[in-house]
Symmetry: C2
Amino acid sequence: MTSLRIRFAAEQDVSLVLAFIRKLAEYEKLSHDVVVDEESLRASLFGATPAAEVLLAFIGDEPAGFAVYFRNFSTFLGRPGIYLEDLFVEPGLRGKGIGTALLVHLAKVCVERGYGRLNWAVLDWNQTAIDFYKRMGAVLLDQWTICRVSGHALKRLAERNVISSVTL
Amino acid sequence: MTSLRIRFAAEQDVSLVLAFIRKLAEYEKLSHDVVVDEESLRASLFGATPAAEVLLAFIGDEPAGFAVYFRNFSTFLGRPGIYLEDLFVEPGLRGKGIGTALLVHLAKVCVERGYGRLNWAVLDWNQTAIDFYKRMGAVLLDQWTICRVSGHALKRLAERNVISSVTL
């Protein structure tokens, strides 16, 4: 038996975090969307105002998986929560409880901070993940769809002419 | 013609923000999920580490709508973005461009801060909103489903026994 250890990532872990991000994108068939590099990741995670936190799981000294998350906010609860952006376990190490351990660790962070909920998104075709999340107590919010404006569309939206007065 | 003005909410606007949250919940048929009160909202929005920002729209001196949002983070972009939690325009003032003005204002905030994208979620039955968002340049991420653990399920997850070692 080799011990499982979970800890927060520090600045010296940036290249490991980047490697996990790329492995997750490959698994999700979304590698074409990945433009992050070590410099931008370091600035975002370990700069003056960190945009996210990272948990790392190790089996002995071997990196086994990670979770990237940030604080969100529910107006209905009037309380912050956590949004889990990425969760990944090395394919060769799945089915051993490492993903569960990461998710439970994150739920503990939520509860300790007095947060109200833990959200994330799953790809519809990833039935293995969906089944796992349901076993963890997750509800799937089927009636909601995520919208996104990014890249050129975001710039165009920002430059759109808007009204300055209204006829009542 | 009466002028349209958009500004950031300040602490003295808490009761107005709360009123908008409740009106939005009513419109979304989700009033049963609303437990926020003025105290928790004030602490979350105007405490030491604000969990979200709020934009308010006024027609003359009349409150017309609001947007609540917070910073999120894309690991694939390696950059922060904005997640729009709530967007609401008074029903009697719709179709005049106030929602567009709020969304454009928010896109400007994104671009000015060097953020990569603007995300939000829409209810599947709200075709008026979906059509509006598509006109604004939004893409609907149909292949993703939001998962959530909250309340008792979150506490149970946090208390779950996890492995402390792994057989390789």
